[in-house]
Symmetry: C2
Subunit: 324 residues, 2 copies
């Protein structure tokens, strides 16, 4: 009889959640049956994304926001993701430890993901971990990204409401942002807003929002909230803004559309990741890969035509079971 943490996770056990996440982290096959059992119980948590440039104070903001949410008797899960840098390490987890008072609260579950051990990329890994916290029964799950890469944009894509955190005077001028970054924000947060330049940054953002029809959707114009997270200022306003956004999207079609789009991406990504393992095993076990590689090294073949050949020998049977 296999160990199965699914039931314990559904009862909210942090210990079972931690073990299941370790399985996911290690690519342990036992994780999948658990995830299949948990899946029907997911989709209930509200997912908040916190992102922004380094030094914007995202982890402090996340912590203070979690406290504000706890005051409303809602339970919170936090997933802090740092996929970016193999060159510098330590600081992120250090921050997390410093804030561990929050983790003494049984209504809060915090998970840092600073490693790259997860199979299938950080977005898939974050998705899996969020599902575990969701199945645990957390009312709100905050996904905090620590780095600033494309990975983070994919990760933040999981959230229902995304907060983009900016700070005055950190070179965070709106002009320097690459296209696509402003557009991910449902709520703009000017953190450390007691600093010089906060007014200017806030008005720059407001003007940009007014001008940009891509940012301002039919239903929702992203507000600009000013916070000083270390001094607990502005968190109530931030939570209200998130609540407003939630109510707006849940009253229209946006919410279900967004979740459909996410399920679509998630399913395709899982097939994509698993397919790589299957193809690799197939080509290695048959010896075809060695054969191809040798021919390519001798310049008798090239990888582009090999790719076409392998694909022409791959057949997709009809997905009959699904149509029952």
């Amino acid at each position: 009889m296999a160990i199965d943490y699914a039931d314990e996770v559904l009862q909210g056990s942090p210990r079972a959640a931690a073990r299941l996440i370790s399985w996911l982290e290690n690519g342990d096959d036992r994780a999948y049956p658990c995830m299949e059992k948990l899946y029907p119980h997911t989709g209930k948590s509200y997912l908040i994304g916190i992102t922004g440039s380094p030094g914007a104070g995202k982890s402090t903001l996340t912590d203070k926001l979690a406290r504000a949410i706890r005051k409303r008797d809602l339970t919170v899960g936090i997933v802090a993701v740092d996929p970016s840098s193999p060159f510098t390490g330590g600081a992120v987890l250090g921050d997390r430890v410093r804030m561990s008072e929050l983790s003494l609260d049984p209504g809060v579950y915090i998970r840092s993901m600073a490693t790259r051990g997860f199979l299938g990329g950080m977005a898939q890994a974050t998705n899996d971990v969020v599902k575990v916290l969701d199945a645990m029964g957390k009312d709100v799950v905050i996904i905090e990204t620590v780095g600033v890469g494309q990975d983070e944009v994919d990760i933040i894509d999981l959230a229902d409401t995304t907060c983009l955190v900016l700070v005055p005077g950190a070179g965070d001028s709106i002009q320097s942002m690459k296209s696509g970054v402003m557009e991910i924000a449902d709520v703009f947060v000017i953190n450390k807003s007691d600093r010089a330049g906060a007014d200017q940054l806030a008005s720059e953002v407001s003007i940009r929002v007014e001008q940009d029809t891509q940012i301002k959707t039919r239903d929702w114009t992203p507000p600009v909230i000013r916070t000083v997270a270390v001094e607990d200022q502005g968190l109530e306003e931030l939570w209200e803004a998130i609540e407003n956004h939630r109510q707006t999207i849940q009253s229209g079609d946006t919410f279900i559309e967004k979740r459909r789009e996410r399920t679509n991406k998630e399913t395709l990504r899982m097939i994509h990741n698993e397919m790589f393992r299957v193809i690799r095993e197939h080509l290695e076990n048959t010896g075809d890969l060695d054969h191809f590689v040798q021919a390519i090294l001798e310049r008798k073949k090239d990888p582009y035509s090999v790719m076409r050949q392998v694909l022409s020998n791959c057949v997709f049977l009809p997905q009959s079971i699904s149509k029952e």
Copy 2:
């Protein structure tokens, strides 16, 4: 009759190379026949990787190294890759423009890849671009990564000789490095070595190399080279170190093993990316994806079991053609 840039690229045309790279960037199908034609002519360039933490002066070092190589009448291609940050932009390409005097030299071809438009990820895209420069006849291709993420580690994997650039006093202490980063270096470069702390950093690195049998392979102990790239100091020594490494690996089995490993990865990655494109189209065109997504949203199915079902309906026919 389709336009075909392959012949022009083989004659060294920078214009044809630029157009072909644009096709690759845009996922234009016309790129593949060209790449197939070019492939038999590749594998001749020596590939140097330059990586390291931000602010280490990698692009200046790359430029000065390119000049040192040009003095030996060798031609140079430079691929500068910045996959990391959607939040800050501009600086990288700005640097490149400043150094454009180098690009006036017809023996040098520079290509910046700051976008994420490429299909199949940056490592595959870099690989394709390197092949184009290789087919152009460049004696040396330098792959410079600007960011510091896992993407860069995958990219740098393409190089025959990898230089890891460190700077004194930039928090670049050896202790803070994540595991796996030291191990990628064939040559350590202490740049800006006129700064305080250079001696200490150099000796830290040397001690670590001595201790770590993973870094020090049987055949090669990575040297520590001190440079001040902006003042043109240490570039001759760096080139000599790279040359020594080249001669060492080419005299043993390492070189062919490394290229075999790279061809193996490259072939698998190409098959994987293309197969995903095909299966995605298949699932979308048959309506199976919509069907699955609907069932998942209604919690009648879960993405984990859908993944298993789709893959179990994917059958590989024997690769008979390849065995001829």
